[in-house]
């Protein structure tokens, strides 16, 4: 078990290095720092001095990979690659355009992101799995047919419309909760209610359909027929046998996203004005703050890889065949 975990972690290392190289290539090789400086400074203020000052302030004035002028190990460390990319492994993301430390900003913004993403995830999972089980129980009936039609219709609506429509109905017409904003402490619930509701609603269509397919595939297996032949009720078959066996394909899709919950949702957070990581990313994109986007790409991949490892671990809990191998 431990050896397995260590092996998985070692597999993750080359992938992270690859991600690091890709982001480095994207941000520094496709465009030179000069181009970025020109873009940031605007057309009017571009002078060679302004560009070199901009680069010097951000430490972009070093060579990319190898610094011929330095001595000793500084040949490699006094370069853009080392100071901007390699240091990310140590959790050092540098500073944003406004001078704040990115790592500290990320830690402080994680809370609001999680406050939205975690309830959305849990409630969403419960709702969709129960809905899918309901459709499976009434399979090949009118309820099932119209349920699937509803799902297809719901997944054909853009997420933007869920948010715009939800804000309009709940906050403007019914005036139940504030339209956007965020407050700390216990008062936060009224700001969280609507985003969570909309998040759950917009995810129902595609996930329910997917879970229903999994359940239907499972329900045609031989062991289900045996269970029915033993005289078990359909409900017992569904919950004791089908649901448990369907957990493996469900876990594959679900556990991967758990670490990514930290990253928040770009759309929801920007529409509801929640100071989380999603809105941080959007603001960085709009302000063309390359350092922040670079940091978010890196953290996002770290989270995804953690998710993959967690998925493998969760298999060992639900599938004895894997545990005993």
């Amino acid at each position: 078990m431990l050896a397995y975990l260590v092996r998985r972690l070692l597999y993750a290392l080359p992938i992270l290095i690859g991600v690091n190289l890709i982001t480095f290539a994207l941000f520094f090789v496709v465009n030179t720092p000069d181009d970025m400086a020109r873009m940031q400074l605007g057309v009017k203020r571009v002078t060679p001095e302004a560009i070199s000052r901009w680069k010097a302030e951000r430490g972009y004035d070093k060579p990319l990979f190898i610094n011929d002028e330095a001595i000793g190990s500084a040949v490699f460390t006094d370069t853009i690659f080392f100071s901007k990319s390699a240091r990310m492994f140590a959790g050092d993301f540098g500073r944003a355009e406004d001078g704040r430390d990115i790592a500290r900003e990320i830690v402080s913004r994680m809370g609001p992101s999680l406050a939205i993403a975690l309830p959305t995830f849990i409630v969403g999972l419960l709702v969709t799995v129960s809905f899918a089980l309901l459709l499976t129980f009434f399979r090949a009936s009118y309820l099932d047919f119209w349920g699937v039609v509803l799902c297809v219709a719901m997944m054909s609506i853009s997420g933007l419309f869920y948010i715009i429509g939800g804000q309009y109905l709940v906050s403007k017409i019914w005036r139940l909760v504030p339209i956007s904003g965020y407050g700390g402490g216990l008062d936060a619930w009224k700001f969280l209610l609507l985003p969570v509701l909309i998040g759950v609603l917009s995810g129902i269509g595609s996930s329910t359909r997917w879970y229903r397919t999994i359940f239907l595939e499972e329900i045609s297996r031989d062991y289900v027929r045996t269970a029915r032949a033993k005289g078990l009720s359909e409900l017992t078959v569904l919950f004791r046998h089908v649901l448990r066996n369907a957990l493996i394909p469900i876990l594959t899709g679900v556990v991967v996203v758990i670490p990514l919950l930290f990253m928040g949702s770009l759309l929801t957070e920007s529409f509801f004005g929640i100071p989380g990581l999603g809105s941080y990313t959007i603001d960085a994109i709009n302000a063309q703050d390359f350092a922040v986007v670079r940091a978010m790409v890196f953290i996002g991949s770290v989270m995804y890889i953690v998710g993959l490892i967690l998925t493998d671990l969760s298999y060992t809990f639900v599938d004895p065949r894997i545990r005993f191998n």
């Binding site: 080359p14 690859g18 181009d35 853009s158 715009i164 063309q288 790409v297 995804y304």
Partner: protein
């Protein structure tokens, strides 16, 4: 007139050619032909295919561009400069067809089919006694309902009259189409027309003709009504700067189609080539390709797209001399977006194809081919690729709708198409605060919603039909 060939136009027409080639291939391959026939029997699938064809028609009309000659340079030959001056506006055939919608801009918001503006305005009215009086009222629109003149009370009657005429024409056209279909079926199945008509509606033929006819009826009715009303009125109202919303919605269709289709054009060669090579040759090639796609897919999609688009913006902004017109710049940005979406989304299909190739290469007939000394290239082309076609086709149709949805989100986030390019995303982005206005402005959002929903729903339903028909696990049960 000088034709302007935008890169996305080239790719769109290339796709049309590819679709025809795929049709020709499918007709020759009995398995694919049977699968397409199963799609043809699916009623929901065929109805949505009809709707999609209408969208594609609009998109194709919008994909032939040209620049018109400036009037000054079209004057007498003596005054004409040596080089003819062309307008900087790049127009498409659709723009020409929709000239009244494109050019007749109001001042600002107006409701659908309105004759007066949406907000009150102070105007100076000369009273009967000659004095000028300030009056605050809803001003008449410049174009909306202008043909009514002073007779604004006749508005409802005029709209009703036009709708009635539209339904009349729709009924005539539909009747002709239905008769043609019955005639075609009668010839194909060697029966009388009456019998063919009965088979279509009883669902006894090999083609879901009834669904197609119903979809056509709805399309004709709605389309012709809109066409009849679009010239004198603004069917979906006007937006903040007074532009007709119907025009914007129709222009958005092409953007959505380009994103949905051209992206797959980028994605397919990558995923097919790498997937087959990895699965067939195994060994270090497989390890390398697996490493490549695991690394790429471990970067969350939106973030990778955001990073790539940011970098693309820098390239475009620092090289303004590459583009002669704004349309070309917007077009290149659209293509770059397709390219980025394609590069970030090939990994899923590649993984599927690799797995399937691994399975296929162990089968007896491929082992036999190898034993006979058939070259690897030939085995891949003759035995492996045809057996992967169903996965490719399913992936193609499944991706379309999610890409159209993604465009809207990306444009909202600011990493989508060029802000000057009309698309569903930019429409929603411009209109998202309008619901909060007093009085509320709902028509831009509603129009974008209806068109986008129809497009994506049709794509989803067709994708389901195609998947059911092509997936060997499902084909038996359907």
């Amino acid at each position: 007139m000088a034709p302007v060939i935008l890169w996305s136009d080239v790719l769109i027409w290339l796709l049309v050619v590819a679709a025809i080639a795929l049709g020709w291939l499918s007709a020759r391959n009995p398995l694919l032909r049977a699968a397409w026939q199963r799609v043809g029997r699916n009623r929901a699938g065929m109805a949505s295919a009809t709707v999609l064809l209408a969208f594609v028609g609009v998109g194709l009309l919008d994909s032939i561009h040209f620049r018109s000659l400036l009037e000054s340079s079209a004057g007498p030959a003596a005054a004409r400069p040596a080089a003819q001056a062309y307008s900087v506006d790049v127009l498409s055939l659709l723009d020409v067809a929709l000239t009244p919608l494109r050019t007749r801009n109001e001042k600002t918001y107006s409701e659908p089919l309105a004759t007066r503006a949406h907000a009150k305005e102070s105007t100076e009215v000369r009273a009967a006694d000659g004095r000028i009086r300030q009056s605050r009222d809803y001003p008449r629109l410049k174009y909306g309902g202008a043909h009514l003149g002073a007779d604004e009370a006749g508005h409802d009657a005029d709209v009703g009259d036009r709708l009635l005429r539209a339904s009349g024409i729709a009924a005539l056209v539909w009747g002709a189409l239905a008769a043609a279909m019955a005639g075609g079926l009668a010839r194909a199945e060697a029966c009388s027309r009456r019998e063919a008509w009965r088979r279509i509606w009883r669902n006894e033929s090999d083609f879901a003709g009834n669904a197609v006819l119903v979809a056509m009826a709805v399309l004709l009715l709605l389309g012709l009504s809109m066409a009849m009303l679009a010239t004198p009125y603004h069917v979906f109202g006007t937006d903040k700067v007074g532009q007709d919303v119907l025009y914007q919605v129709l222009k958005s269709v092409r953007t959505a189609l380009v994103i949905g289709l051209v992206t797959t054009l980028v994605m397919l060669p990558l995923s097919i080539f790498l997937g087959v090579v990895a699965g067939y040759f195994r060994g270090w090639i497989d390890d390398l390709i697996q490493y490549l796609y695991t690394t790429l897919s471990s970067i969350p999609g939106v973030l990778l797209i955001a990073a790539a688009v940011l970098m693309m913006q820098v390239v475009i902004d620092t090289h303004p001399h590459w583009f002669t017109t704004a349309a070309e710049r917007a077009d290149l940005r659209l293509l770059a977006l397709c390219f980025i979406l394609g590069v970030t989304s090939w990994t899923g299909l590649c993984r599927l194809l690799r797995g399937e190739t691994l399975k296929l290469r162990e089968l007896e007939y491929i082992q036999a081919a190898q034993a006979f000394g058939v070259s690897d290239l030939r085995i891949i082309a003759r035995h492996i690729l045809p057996n992967l076609m169903h996965i490719v086709i399913i992936a193609l149709v499944m991706d379309f709708s999610s890409l159209v949805l993604a465009e809207a989100v990306l444009s909202y986030v600011g990493i989508g198409v060029d802000p000057t390019m009309i698309s569903f995303g930019t429409m929603i982005n411009n209109a998202r605060l309008e619901l909060a206005r007093e009085p509320m402005v709902w028509w831009s959002l509603a129009a974008a919603f209806v068109f986008m929903f129809t497009l994506v729903l049709a794509a989803n339903l067709l994708a389901d039909a195609v998947r059911d028909a092509f997936d060997p696990r499902l084909a038996g049960s359907a």
